[in-house]
């Protein structure tokens, strides 16, 4: 796929290190993501890919190095950090929809409470987003009444309602039954086509192949490869990547 990067990158990680106790979970990680770029992060479990994704909106603080978003270093805490988070959408493996709110309330809560937007306008936008992800008819139900695939699409709509500059996906399809993976990936693919900047941690190699601008392969807390998907899947350079691909692509 062509390089869509224009101007300065939106997300820049430079020499990032993080430890969980003695475990060096991010080892000198540097990565930059351009505006409109879709970067898919893959790698074996425990390679640090989810942690990497979570450092970008500082759900995980880092021990050293720097992360900038839209030209500014991530604020450490307080209002600045909250503002940054409101500009970065996040989708979790376990959906994390607010269990005591309806689907529509889940989508409108952020804009109304964080952005202080007018409820009526937000409601309209929320319904349009639910329609876009194909669950407009579920607006008044509670999360527990929806299938996993529907919940994850609602979670994507909730993140989009904040009109974010970038979207982070932390294994968005890993908790889904196989027949529901497609409906979530379809939504993500259409987002990617519309030019949303995305960092996607996933095991879905099909998505990486057709929707990513770049594939980042991580192992043991390091970025081992960073290449265009065609190049990565056809000619992985490292032994770790070859080994990983041989294990997941043989089935």
């Amino acid at each position: 796929m062509d390089d869509v990067t224009t101007g300065e990158p939106l997300i820049v990680l430079d020499g990032v290190n993080k430890w969980f106790g003695p475990l060096h979970v991010l080892d000198d990680v540097s990565l930059s993501v351009g505006r409109g770029e879709v970067v898919v992060v893959i790698g074996p479990s425990g390679s640090g890919k989810s942690t990497l994704c979570r450092t970008i909106n500082r759900l995980e603080p880092i021990d050293s190095g720097s992360i900038t978003f839209d030209g500014r270093p991530l604020p450490a805490e307080g209002k600045g950090l909250a503002k940054l988070r409101s500009e970065v959408g996040m989708v979790f493996q376990s959906f994390n929809l607010f269990a005591h709110k309806t689907i529509l309330e889940n989508v409108t809560l952020g804009p109304v409470k964080v952005r202080k937007e007018k409820p009526a306008a937000v409601r309209e936008r929320g319904l349009a987003l639910l329609d876009r992800v194909g669950i407009a008819n579920q607006a008044d139900k509670y999360p527990a009444q929806l299938s996993g695939g529907q919940q994850q699409r609602a979670a994507i709509a909730r993140a989009l309602a904040m009109q974010p500059k970038a979207m982070l996906f932390d294994e968005p399809t890993s908790a889904l039954d196989p027949e529901m993976v497609g409906e979530v990936l379809d939504v993500m693919t259409s987002l990617a086509r519309e030019g949303m900047t995305m960092v996607v941690v996933t095991h879905e190699m099909g998505f990486a192949r057709h929707a990513a601008n770049r594939v980042v392969f991580m192992a043991d807390g390091r970025i081992v490869e960073d290449a265009a998907p065609t190049e990565f899947f056809a000619n992985p350079r490292s032994e770790r990547a070859k080994d990983f691909l041989s294990k997941i692509l043989t089935h």
């Binding site: 209002k79 988070r85 409101s86 996040m90 269990a99 005591h100 409470k113 993140a159």
Partner: protein
Amino acid sequence: MGEFFRVLTDNQQVFLDGFVNTIKLFLIAAVGSLVLGTLLGAMRVSPVPALRAFGATYVNLIRNTPLTLVFAFLVFAVPKLDVNIDYFPSACIALTVYTSAFVCEVVRSGVNTVATGQAEAARALGMTFGQVLTLIVLPQALRAMVPPMMSVFIAMLKNTTIAAGFSVLEAGAIPAYMAERGEPQMVVLSWIVIGFLILIIPLVLLQRFLERKWAVAR
């Protein structure tokens, strides 16, 4: 049997005054400890280490102190600091200070029943700590908090009787008063037991109502 009811009817004003004071003490301390305890609970789950330490110190100090000592401190020690508070407000403060430590722990354990992903998703949207707590976590924690919270309040209702030892005329002070009048203690005490049982019924009904109201599908 006639004797049993005579004790109540002959002394109804004493019983009435006593229990009205008990109810007043209870209601004031319940509201006070609900507010203070929730604040302390919020401190204990906050991201600020100093607040967490304050909350933990408060709970460990107060929860391990006999209530009689807390009363004695307020009634006898505080006036030595040239702060003069009447007996009744002192009793309200003592009960509030003491019960708040238990309310705090109920709030904290309720918060712990809410999946961490809920707070994480709220933070990821850009909510402040206060918003995460009041909009997302506490509403979902309420249901788990109801049964232990009621136990705390029922215990507190009975703890009000310690105020009798500090010159507050509540239900716990009735026996001494009646002894002076020469009434049979067995009967007096039985009426006080019945009084407390009657006071606890609305609390039990409230608990049942709230548990149904706050049922959350997970």
